[in-house]
Amino acid sequence: MSVGRMDARIGYIAFNTFREAVRDRVLYNLIAFALLLSGAAILVGEISIDIERLVVVNLGLTAVSIFGVLIAIFIGIGLVSKEIEKRTLYTVLSRPVRRWEFVVGKFFGLTGTLVVNTLFMAIGVFFALLYTAHRFEKMDVWVLVALYFIVLQFFIVCALALFFSSFSTPLMSAVFTFALFIIGNMADDLHGFARITHGAGGWLATAIAYLVPNFSALNVISQVAHGDPVGGRLIVYNTLYALFYSAMAISGAVLIFQRRNLK
């Protein structure tokens, strides 16, 4: 099999995953998002003081993140199991498609869906910003950086959902992924705990702190809401971290899926 054909096969699986997600009305969440954001932008000035822009950014980006994470988990856990259940996996694998190509294609399909979803939501956030402030400001650029970090977060969550779904039931995969999402948001606390613990416990805490995904560094929502800049080095490191971590989880998923008895 040539490299070019391998790319085409992964692309085809990714496109089908995207099409299936759209057919499953995943993008309907955009309606809820639009209602939430426009409602908040209009109402917050009535019930609070001096935080219109802050609320648009905080609520907008938090909603983008939460909606995306939920989609990543609930679609990601069914990517493999649904294909097995509907027996379509056997049809796919009976063709010249390798198992790892199937996993990687599924990953790109889901992340592609989330990128498109985030793109529409980002347009919504910027419209709401324009509505509240009547113009764009220089500091709004940092909102784009926060959105980029949220997309990186989706990469990791998608990879984790796919990893767990490669060996576990959909329900347990959802529980594991969501648990890691929560733990990953407390990563700073874990690192702090590891620093003050000594001996074997310290080593264990440090190992756990470095093994669980660190979502804290990927969350700069509050920072950009105040218009504070995000350092270039953090952008580079976060990008590398998300790529490495996603690659690690996808590699794990491939390793397990390769050995899985599908009969």
């Binding site: 917050v44 000035g45 609070s48 003081i49 935080i51 609320v55 905080n58 609520l59 938090t62 948001n185």
Partner: protein, 316 residues
């Protein structure tokens, strides 16, 4: 007569739609009745989770949004109690503490929060100590924000009458790279204990100039008008006293003062109406209900009205 399958389906749909509508009305009506029941609001009087650390962990990193929610809750809590004339603001300080610890850069929470906490009830919570703590925490977290030093100085001057500390706060704020040109002047005035009316006027003028929020600007204009009334009434009553000392009787009208050469023309209040001279020699504002925050020129036993504090969205 047998009904067709289509007719049965249509009847079922109509019945279901009717049941849905009636149930909705019933649910809304019942809830409205529950809302009108006289209940001691135990639920509203609690903070559920008062630890900012716990809340920070529970927020899963979305601390900014949670801080916005708590700040809105603090505004609503204060606005509602202020509107009802309640003197009980026990949750205000904890709400502001949670808000600012979740988002230490949320400047409105310090600026407005201190102004909610410091004044005596019913205008505020009567907790100047908590207001000072809040403002000092704000400065520790945002040492480059001149407005926080300005608010601290304002607090020392208006609520605590501590001129030395007010001068110190204004002087520290004046040293920042980005600051107001009024800060060094205010620091000097505080140090000298210079004329209270002029200083207060400068403070409110700085407040007016340094914000784009229409509510705050209107509030500052209200205070500036009130200062003018208080100053006018003080001066006019001094004039009346001089007249009484010279003529051994009280003036019967403003025209008497004018004829005696004490004033030139009848002075007008900020609404354009002339001040009223009472039979016992006091000066009163004719339409005192239309001027907020005044402390002088009011009929005996009357307090000046204060504007509603619940903000409007068109405050730009």
């Amino acid at each position: 007569m047998t009904l067709t399958r289509r007719t049965v389906t249509r009847r079922t749909n109509v019945a279901a739609a009717g049941a849905l509508f009636l149930s909705l009305i019933g649910a809304v009506a019942t809830l409205a009745a529950i809302d009108h029941l006289p209940r001691r609001s135990i639920v509203q009087e609690s903070l559920y989770i008062s630890s900012p650390k716990v809340l920070r962990r529970m927020s899963l990193g979305y601390t900014g949004l949670l801080a916005d929610i708590y700040w809105t809750r603090a505004v609503q809590y204060f606005g509602e109690r202020h509107h009802n004339g309640s003197g009980d603001f026990r949750l205000l300080a904890p709400l502001l503490q949670v808000t600012t610890e979740l988002d230490p850069k949320l400047l409105p929470a310090y600026e407005f929060g201190a102004n909610f906490l410091a004044p005596k009830p019913p205008d505020g919570a009567g907790l100047p100590g908590s207001a000072l703590d809040l403002m000092k925490y704000g400065i520790a977290q945002n040492p480059d924000q001149w407005r926080l030093y300005y608010n601290l100085g304002f607090l020392y001057f208006t609520e605590l009458k501590d001129y030395a500390k007010a001068a110190d706060a204004f002087a520290q704020g004046a040293k920042l790279p980005v600051t107001s040109p009024f800060m060094p002047v205010l620091a000097a005035r505080m140090a000298q204990h210079a004329g209270e009316f002029d200083t207060a006027r400068m403070l409110w003028f700085t407040t007016y100039q340094s914000t784009k929020d229409r509510n705050i600007r209107e509030n500052a204009i209200g205070h500036l008008q009130a200062l003018r009334v208080d100053e006018d009434v003080t001066q006019l009553e001094q004039v009346v006293e001089k007249y009484r000392q010279q003529t051994k009787r009280l003036p019967s009208s403003m025209a008497d003062l004018e004829r005696a050469g004490f004033i030139h023309g009848v002075p007008l209040d900020p609404t354009g109406k002339p001040y009223k001279l009472t039979a016992d020699g006091r000066i009163e504002v004719q339409d005192w209900k239309s001027i907020f925050f005044i402390t002088k020129g009011l009929p005996p036993g009357v307090k000046s009205p204060t504007p509603a504090l619940i903000p409007k969205s068109d405050a730009k």
